[in-house]
């Protein structure tokens, strides 16, 4: 397969996954903001989303204050913000367009019509129809992309690069969601409050893990178990361990003469998740652990680009 084709497939799936995770994050933040709380606390959650995407400067250039409406507008529909859902869907479609011959007709038509519909939605229309509906729509379109990929694409190299992009992006995004929410939720310390239950519940729902949690633990929601579920569970499709397992598998199937080092790094990271314990991770500080995890995911992404795709410096 052409390196450039693999590159477009990899990024196509990363962008669609990113749009979905962003919709999930905004959705949970929006839901949490409906629970009675101080305005300061609410705005803190919105600010965290900006910080999470390292967009403080770009945001400040457009808005003076951080509040729900501004952040939603910036992260949902802003054409200039390359991290907005709008931009992610555009980039997903542009990458798909560049390799439409490699995609099945169903995949291409899904990507293209997602973009055509997204383009027609103004922020005002989205708000009037209910932002929740919009986030559901984004999740649905992402599911549809995955579904057509699984249901129609030959499981050859193209498929593995698409999976690699999806899983790597998802690992990064789950880690980010956990990092930002854990951070915001922890300061209560020992004083458990009723709102905490709703906050944790919303976080779990944002990664489709609320029912999963019930099934796995059959017990009250505690921060430690939430972290354990999202980091170490082997069967939860959005957990870090699940994602890394898939990354390693797909990398093995794709391996070429110079991809050994990247595979080693991914394998090593996977082993830590496979054999790690949540107590050890929390002991050294979850934030520190997640920061290190995200750095390593970034390095693996770079390694994949260098070994198979269009090297970053050439792509510019």
């Amino acid at each position: 397969m052409l390196s450039r084709t693999a590159d477009h497939l990899f990024w196509m799936s990363r962008y669609i996954e990113r749009a979905e995770n962003l919709a999930r994050l905004l959705d949970v933040t929006w839901q949490m903001s409906l629970v009675p709380q101080s305005e300061e606390a609410a705005n803190q959650s919105w600010a965290a989303i900006i910080a999470l995407n390292s967009l403080e400067e770009a945001y400040a250039a457009k808005y003076d204050t951080v509040n729900g409406e501004n952040v939603l507008r910036f992260m949902v529909s802003d054409h200039d913000n390359f991290s907005s859902i709008y931009s992610c869907l555009r980039m997903a479609r542009e990458n798909a367009h560049a390799v439409r011959g490699t995609l099945t007709t169903e995949m291409w038509e899904t990507m293209n019509s997602t973009w055509l519909e997204a383009r027609e939605k103004s922020f005002e229309q989205i708000v009037n129809a209910g932002v929740g509906d919009f986030f559901e729509w984004v999740k649905l379109r992402s599911s549809l992309s995955r579904g057509t990929t699984l249901g129609t694409l030959l499981q050859d190299e193209a498929f593995h690069f698409i999976r690699l992009g999806t899983l790597l992006e998802r690992a990064d995004n789950t880690a980010r969601i956990l990092d930002v929410k854990y951070h915001v939720l922890r300061p209560h310390g020992e004083e458990e409050e009723a709102t905490d239950f709703y906050q944790w519940g919303a976080l779990l729902r944002s990664v489709s893990a609320f029912e999963v949690y019930r099934k796995v633990y059959r017990d009250v929601i505690t921060p430690e178990r939430v972290a354990e579920l999202l980091i170490l569970n082997s069967d939860m499709p959005r957990s870090l361990r699940f994602c890394l397992n898939g990354v390693v598998k797909n990398l093995e199937l794709l391996s070429n003469n110079h991809s050994g080092e990247t595979l080693r790094q991914a394998g090593q990271l996977y082993s830590q998740l496979r054999y790690g314990r949540i107590e050890d991770i929390l002991k050294d500080g979850l934030h520190e652990w997640l920061t290190d995890f995200m750095d390593r995911i970034y390095l693996i992404g770079n390694g994949i680009s260098k070994d198979f795709l269009v090297p970053m410096d050439e792509a510019a």
């Binding site: 450039r4 560049a98 291409w108 293209n112 019509s113």
Partner: protein
């Protein structure tokens, strides 16, 4: 002016080959037709069968309007056209071989040598290069129009990178999806095997000694106006769609960069103009091409399709000589008519053209896509005066032809069904002695009332083309 109507004869009767269709059209409720037209529009959008228009916002894509009334050609007429095109393309390929080798036709004085050798499209780098099977234009688009009492004329030959074949195929697919009942009632000759035929031809012209040649389609990229077609053809043939940056040349051999390392490429169906093909040989500022590809080509290690330097044979200043080429190389009389052409570089012709600007069509010798032309009868005084100045300043840059009374065909437009002018571009494929084509081609239709310019860049639409089998 009287125009030949494809569906009705001069007395208003329905022509034999349109009888079934006309009955169906009359008997089908307008709501159903309207619904089907909307369905077609939606489907074309979703599938993304679009093209970009130069001069408009970058990355913006437009739909080519599709008309549901087919252009029907009876078998007998098609057979004559087919023979004519086969003859014409054969002669054009022989002409190209000749002018890059012994130049017999120039020595015989049939075509003025300076017309060929001083032509900007004549590529001296091709002199003495032996292309496989002596074929230069593996893919030729011959633009045909019907005029006067119904006879066909060749309007121009497209031997560089003719486009539009994907619309021919998609239009057929759409018609079969919308109106399957029509295909049960007509024996429409199939065209869907075009990509297979193309792949077979491309493989047939691979460099000698390559048992299982690797074929690729080379595109300028996703922002090119014909990108949909490039990607469509690559997919249909099951070959890689590459951009210049995906290829590199080492030891006069072309490779593509793959996830498993370099892979050799043997045949390149390139959809990039000569000028942009190799920054080392042609335009140095081209970012679309592949440095060193010309040397690999000259060494015979890769086949380019079409060959470099075909532009000299489809140039509008060479066009008037094609009938003589047919006589010279094949010893046959041309089957298809040429449109009488005034060459403005000739003093007498220029004087005539300047006196009759209001009646003639004036074209730039190197122009294409309906840009840079004057349709006298449809132009204002100012436009005509502007062209007069252009002609006086650079007479050898222009030719002129009588304004043809192009045939028309009933077409859906805003006010209902009305006649609109059309042309036809069949795609002629050559390798060695074999010249083949699928029956039909791309029918383009001018949607503006009275307009004679059918190019999609000028707001033209397309129709499915049906060649009926006996």
């Amino acid at each position: 002016m009287n125009f030949y109507n494809e569906m009705y004869d001069a007395d208003g009767g329905v022509r034999e080959h349109y009888k079934h269709y006309e009955t169906w059209l009359k008997g089908t409720p307008p709501e159903r037709i309207e619904r089907k037209r909307a369905e077609a529009d939606l489907a074309f959008h979703r599938v993304g069968i679009t093209f970009a228009v130069y001069g408009e916002e970058a990355g913006k894509e437009r739909l080519i309007p599709f008309d549901i009334i087919p252009r029907i050609i009876p078998s007998k007429e098609w057979k004559a056209m087919e023979r004519g095109m086969r003859q014409r393309v054969k002669a054009l390929n022989m002409f190209l071989w000749d002018i890059y080798h012994d130049q017999e036709i120039l020595k015989a004085g049939k075509v003025p040598a300076e017309q060929v050798l001083d032509n900007a499209q004549y590529r001296a780098v091709m002199k003495g290069v032996d292309v496989p099977a002596g074929i230069y234009a593996h893919i030729a688009g011959v633009d045909l129009v019907r005029a006067g009492a119904g006879e066909f004329y060749v309007l121009e030959d497209n031997l560089r990178v003719p486009s539009g074949v994907s619309y021919m195929l998609e239009d057929r697919k759409m018609m079969m999806r919308l109106f399957p009942e029509l295909f049960a009632r007509h024996k429409v000759a199939p065209v869907q095997h075009y990509p297979d035929m193309l792949l077979e031809k491309l493989r047939a012209v691979a460099p000698q000694g390559i048992a299982d040649p690797t074929v690729v389609v080379l595109t300028p990229g996703a922002y090119n106006s014909a990108y949909f077609e490039h990607s469509f053809l690559a997919q249909q043939m099951g070959v890689e769609l590459v951009e210049g940056r995906d290829l590199f040349v080492k030891d006069d051999t072309v490779y593509m960069r793959t996830t498993q390392g370099p892979q050799r490429v043997d045949v390149i169906y390139r959809r990039i103009d000569d000028d942009f093909l190799d920054p080392l040989a042609f335009r140095a500022d081209s970012a679309l091409g592949v440095p060193g590809i010309l040397k690999a080509y000259q060494a015979g290690n890769v086949t380019l399709s079409n060959a470099i330097g075909t532009g000299v044979a489809d140039d509008k200043s060479i066009y008037p000589y094609v009938p003589d080429m047919i006589r010279f190389y094949l010893g046959e009389e041309p089957i298809l008519n040429n449109v009488p052409t005034y060459m403005c570089r000739k003093k007498d012709d220029l004087a005539y053209v300047l006196d009759h600007l209001g009646e003639l069509v004036v074209k730039e010798v190197h122009g294409a896509g309906g840009y840079g032309m004057l349709v006298g009868p449809a132009s204002t005084k100012e436009q005509i005066e502007k062209f007069r100045q252009l002609l006086l300043a650079k007479p050898d840059g222009y030719i002129a032809q009588p304004t043809l009374a192009l045939s028309n065909c009933p077409t859906f437009v805003e006010e209902g069904i009305a006649p609109r002018h059309l042309d036809l571009r069949p795609f002629v494929l050559s390798s060695g002695k074999c010249v083949n084509m699928v029956p039909g081609g791309l029918t383009r239709v001018a949607l503006t009332k009275g307009s004679l310019v059918v190019n999609s860049s000028q707001g033209g639409g397309t129709k499915d083309t049906w060649v009926l089998e006996d």
